[in-house]
Structures are given as structure tokens and as C-alpha cells.
């Protein structure tokens, strides 16, 4: 990372955030270009509703615009925060009655991988899809029920007819496999 906040050809998220904090619309636009596809696709995968996913997308970037100064480069990942916040809001919409999900603060997600360039995102997408494709069906199902459907482990156990301990083991094994993409 250079003093100008760039890694090679890519301006870093934090450099863009600093400019957004100065109310630079071009910087927000660049950040939107970088992550809107990721956030929108995730929200739509959870909600199966284009309009609702677009609403979450717009609200999240509007929040970044208004509260850019709250993000702390030393303590979190902006990309990580965007996808976790999008996921939580989508699950909250999905399960509106339960009010189950939490709002993640701007320092609360540490994503240990670079996704600031299109190439890096593309590489990670390939790796994660490969891992998910190679997971045993029951592990993948447990992980997806939790993350994309907002089900608790007890709900997954009820749905699959498996003991709670088995569900926990499946989730843990799947997460272990998934984290290997980081190594």
C-alpha cells in the first residue's frame, strides 16, 4: 500500500473511505462499483427478491456515505462489514417477525483476504465455489441453512432430523474446509 493508498492499480478501500468522509461522490461511486455486485447478489440469494435486495444495497452504501468516519482500518474489513451487514439485514427482512439478527458495528468484521481488485474477487469466488462444491451435501446444507436462511442449529436439526451435535459437527467441518481458501 502506497502513501496515496493504492495497491498497484487499485485504490484501497480505506483510501476511498477517507475521500467519502470528505463527501467525495466519485469515491463512493468507485466503492459501489467494487462491491455492489457482491452485496446485491448475496441479498438476492437470501431474499429471492430483486427489489428488496436493491433496497438493502442502496441503504448500505447510503450508510457508508453518512458514517464513513466510523470505519476503522485498524480493526476491520470494509468488504467484510458490507457482506455481513447485507446478510444480517436480508435475514432480518426474511424473518421479519422474529427480529433475530444483530446489527454489526463498523469494526466488527475481520476478513483476512484481499478483495479490493476485480481479479482478487474473481479468484476468491472461484476458490469458495470450488470448496462449497466439494463439501459433502449434508455439510453444505447445514452451512447454507444457517447463513442464507437464518436458521439456528436447533431449527436445522429439526429440519434434517439429525441430532443437534451432528448438525454442529457438520457446520464446524464445513467452516474448517471453507477457511482453507484463506491459506
Amino acid at each position: 500500500v502506497t502513501a496515496q493508498g493504492t495497491t498497484g492499480e487499485t485504490t484501497t478501500d480505506w483510501s476511498l473511505l477517507a475521500r467519502i468522509g470528505q463527501k467525495d461522490e466519485d469515491a463512493l461511486s468507485a466503492l459501489y462499483d467494487r462491491y455492489s455486485g457482491l452485496v446485491f447478489s448475496e441479498a438476492k440469494r437470501i431474499l429471492h427478491d430483486t427489489g428488496a435486495a436493491e433496497e438493502i444495497l442502496q441503504d448500505l452504501f447510503y450508510q457508508v456515505w453518512r458514517t464513513a468516519e466510523r470505519f476503522d482500518p485498524a480493526r476491520g474489513s470494509l468488504a467484510g462489514w458490507l457482506v455481513v451487514a447485507a446478510r444480517n439485514r436480508a435475514i432480518s427482512k426474511l424473518r421479519r417477525k422474529s427480529g433475530k439478527t444483530e446489527e454489526v458495528d463498523e469494526k466488527g468484521v475481520s476478513l483476512k483476504v484481499d478483495v479490493e481488485s476485480r481479479a482478487a474477487q474473481s479468484l476468491l469466488l472461484d476458490k469458495v465455489r470450488t470448496v462449497m462444491g466439494n463439501l459433502p451435501e449434508n455439510q453444505r446444507e447445514a452451512l447454507e441453512c444457517a447463513y442464507f436462511e437464518g436458521m439456528s442449529h436447533t431449527e436445522i436439526a429439526e429440519k434434517t432430523g439429525q441430532p443437534l451435535g451432528t448438525v454442529k459437527t457438520r457446520i464446524r467441518s464445513a467452516m474448517e474446509a471453507l477457511k482453507k481458501v484463506l491459506s
Binding site: 438476492k44 440469494r45 442502496q58 475481520s110
Partner: protein, 273 residues
């Protein structure tokens, strides 16, 4: 879980995935709020869980969303610039005549107290009336400000639609009933917004021009009136139509004043989408 014990990473992973029942999640959150070490580990677990977002088939959002976002930001900046409008809350007037009972035996004292009480009652009534008037004025001003914000949001929305890459332009040509007439339509199917202008001859007072969206399937859908009863925006007219309705054509007909649910009169403008 005691305050000295840290949460196992497996539990933090389940919390990050949203896979814990509410009561268990709340218990862990209570510990984490006072434990930096577990908070750092939870941030790590959330980062791991966030990898799942990369398992999703990627799609690009519609171009109108960016335009709407930027319009919202500009509207917000303008609103903030104009929000230095100090509004003092109106305190309810608590003045009034104290519930004193004049002592019937106090003689001349009544001559002082009764007029004073009457004067106070009058002042109290005047203040109370003034407070109501100020409160009412403030409410009117607030409503006016809210209406201005709504208008601005609508304008930003329309500007966003005009700038959106998926907005199509349809040119309308006069039919044999109005050979010299012409018009142009800007249509965004996703947002369900039609903007148009037309050069048309004057009509008798009991007639109106009405714009129609002719969908690929089904009956024509009214897209508003060009004249009284229509929604003007600068030199253009605008109307909302059901979103995501693919258009085959746009047409303008002459209808009874106020419009008709389906076209009944002669067609004067037509253009294929």
C-alpha cells in the same frame, strides 16, 4: 459462562453464522460486550463466515440503483445544507388563574384580587391562543418543508430515471387524425416510470389527450393525461405504470375530459417501443 472464561471459537463461529438460538446468542453477546479478546475472535469468525458471500452466483444490480443512490445523497446534502432551521419547541402555556378562593370576609382585598384574577385569565387566554397559533403555524411550515422534500425526492427520482442506461426513448408520430403532431416518450420499465412531451393541437374543453402504454401482452395501460388531471414536470408529463411491464408501443388518444380506463377515441400519436 463465567466472566473469566473465554468463549470457544466454535461457538463464536456459530454466532457469526447466525446459527445460535436467540437466548444463547444473547448470553454470548453479553460476555463479548465486556471481553475484548472474544470481540476480536468474533470479528475473525464473522470474516470467515463472510466468505460464504463469495459462494453466490454474482449478478450486477440495475443501473437505476446507482442513480437513485447518488440522487439520494445529493438530496440529503441539500437537506442538510438547509436544515439550519432552528425550531424552538413550543412550550405549553401553563399560566392561568390559581385555584384560590377569595375570602368573602376580606373586604377591600376582593377589589384588588378579582380584577387581578380576571386580568390574569385574559392574559392566560391570550397566551394560550397565541401558543396554539404558533404551534399551528409550525405544523404548517413542517408540512410545507416535508412536501418540498417529497417534491425534491420525486425530481431526483425522475432525473435518475432520465439518466439511467436502461431508460428507452420512443418517438411518437402523428396519425392521419393529427398528421403534424409529434411526441417523445422516455420509459423505464424497471422503475415503472413514463416521461413524455408532445406537440398536439388544442382540444375542445370536454376532451383530453391520454397517453397509453401498449404492453407486449394484455390491454393498454393508462400512462396519464396531457393536460388538466395529468402530472406535469417542467415541460414534460409523467406517470407511474406497473413496474417491469415490457412495452410494445406508446399511443395518445383523444378521450373525454378526465380520461378513460381504456382507449375509446381516435389515436393521434403512435410509436413502437
Amino acid at each position: 459462562l463465567s466472566s473469566e472464561e473465554h468463549i470457544r471459537f466454535e461457538e463464536l463461529e456459530l454466532l457469526a453464522l447466525g446459527a445460535l438460538p436467540e437466548d444463547e446468542a444473547a448470553a454470548l453477546q453479553a460476555h463479548i460486550s465486556g471481553c475484548d479478546e472474544c470481540a476480536v475472535k468474533l470479528a475473525q469468525a464473522r470474516g470467515d463466515a463472510a466468505l460464504l458471500a463469495f459462494a453466490v452466483q454474482q449478478e450486477r444490480p440495475a443501473g437505476t440503483i446507482r442513480a437513485e443512490l447518488m440522487a439520494r445523497i445529493r438530496a440529503n446534502r441539500e437537506a442538510e445544507a438547509h436544515s439550519a432551521w432552528p425550531v424552538k419547541p413550543v412550550e405549553e402555556n401553563r399560566g392561568g388563574v390559581a385555584g384560590q378562593k377569595a375570602d368573602s370576609g376580606s373586604g377591600w382585598w376582593n377589589w384588588v384580587l378579582v380584577p387581578a384574577a380576571l386580568a390574569l385569565a385574559l392574559v392566560s387566554f391570550a397566551l394560550s391562543w397565541q401558543n396554539r397559533r404558533i404551534a399551528s403555524e409550525l405544523q404548517r411550515e413542517r408540512k410545507a418543508a416535508e412536501a418540498m422534500i417529497r417534491d425534491r425526492e420525486q425530481i431526483e427520482r425522475l432525473v435518475g430515471v432520465l439518466a439511467a442506461p436502461d431508460t428507452v426513448t420512443v418517438k411518437l408520430a402523428g396519425t392521419s387524425d393529427a398528421a403534424n403532431a409529434s411526441g417523445v416518450v422516455k420509459f423505464n420499465a424497471k422503475a415503472g416510470i413514463v416521461l413524455y412531451s408532445a406537440d398536439l393541437p388544442a382540444l375542445p374543453k370536454d376532451k383530453s389527450y391520454q397517453m397509453w402504454l401498449v404492453p407486449v401482452n394484455g390491454a393498454p395501460i393508462s400512462a396519464g393525461l396531457l393536460g388538466p388531471g395529468g402530472h406535469a414536470w417542467g415541460s414534460m408529463w409523467t406517470a407511474d405504470v406497473p413496474a417491469n411491464t415490457p412495452a410494445k408501443a406508446f399511443a395518445v388518444t383523444i378521450e373525454p375530459v378526465g380520461g378513460a380506463p381504456q382507449p375509446t377515441g381516435p389515436k393521434v400519436l403512435l410509436g413502437a417501443a
